[in-house]
């Protein structure tokens, strides 16, 4: 339930996840993964600011970032590989990013742990992230409608999927701007 002082606003939401981190934890230990994730999220937070957004919260290996515009969210998501460079100790591990982007009305409010966003659209982007494959961005139809023709050209054909608790959702897929693991 959103806090009492919450207000409604249209926001672009990005959820990103690191594929392969569970396997890496088993091989390298939790500390190595923890350090990798923390440093990546720190750089992603700075990148979000450069794209007029904010990294709102970390959820394990994932994070949730918010933007006013879907185009900013897309540019941010596509640039994520540029700040995802595992150090030499893990450069040979099979890690990859994936992300989901959605645009819609959310409830924005202050909580004891800082600002947060609430509502069905937040659930939607989290469920949509489950559709993304490794090294892939999925973007909802609602977010695609906010993009320019040039940006839309990056997105593959529209698909639909039944998302748990949400219903049928249209989305497209695209790759990241550059492949990750630049440190490898």
């Amino acid at each position: 339930m959103p806090p009492a002082a919450a207000h409604l606003a249209d926001r672009a939401l990005v959820i990103s996840d690191i594929n392969g981190s569970t396997r890496m934890s088993a091989r390298r230990g939790d500390l190595a993964v923890h350090n990798l994730v923390r440093s990546f999220h720190g750089r992603a937070a700075a990148l979000a600011l450069q794209h007029n957004g904010r990294l709102l919260k970390e959820i394990g290996d994932s994070f949730l970032a918010v933007f006013n515009e879907a185009a900013d969210a897309l540019r941010f998501a596509r640039a994520l590989p540029s700040v995802f460079y595992p150090d030499d100790a893990v450069s040979n591990e099979e890690l990859s990013l994936k992300a989901a982007i959605h645009f819609g009305e959310v409830s924005v409010g202050e909580t004891p742990y800082g600002e947060d966003v609430f509502g069905q659209n937040v659930n939607l982007v989290a469920r949509l992230e489950g559709v993304a494959g490794p090294k892939e961005i999925v973007i909802s139809e609602a977010a695609m409608q906010r993009l320019s023709a040039e940006e839309l050209g990056l997105v593959n054909r529209l698909e639909t999927s039944e998302l748990k608790g949400i219903g049928k959702v249209g989305f497209g897929r695209l790759g990241f701007g550059r492949m990750q693991l630049t440190g490898a």
């Binding site: 949730l64 509502g119 489950g130």
Partner: protein, 212 residues
Amino acid sequence: MPASEGFPPAIEVATEAIAIVDIVDATKMSNRFGWYAVGRGVLRDLRSLIAQVGPKRGLSCQKSTGDGYLLTFRNQQSAELAAILAVESIFELFDLAVRRNTGVPEEQALVLRSAVHIGEVDVLPNDREGPHVSFAFRHEAISRAALAEAINPIAPEDLPLQNYVLCSEPVADILRQRATRWTPVSIGLFRFKGFTGFHEVFRVNPTPAPPC
């Protein structure tokens, strides 16, 4: 040589409802008041209460976890019914614990929390193994602090500190479709260590009686 020689015996796999019952602040209680003075008696009373509520509802395994018990429930007719009976058992357990606590010194109070999931488990003598058991424990471990790392979380103060039941998505689906006495209410989408993707977690609330 018998054909089976040299091979481990086949392990039975069953679909069971998995309930984790934990004594809230058990470690703190034992540290402050002593395991032999207080902790052991509280755990013994919990075991006694489980014996009152579980067997009549298909309790098939009761394994100590130190601060509580791993319980599983099985129903030959319907695995879904096992989940409902598990939830029913836990709520009756809470009621019995509240009654037991009446007149008991505060430090000896039996205060519980629980999580219920359903899935396939490896059946071992008086124990259960498998990812669904781990998944149930991940639910039970959710605290107010964990809400800060959830998607669409409830306010921390809306998660009680005691006598609450959390359940997984499959159990919530079963309760919605087949039980009218309880209503699952989402508390957020969580990520669990060792499990991919987001998992919605629900608090099970007794459904208010309709107005007469």
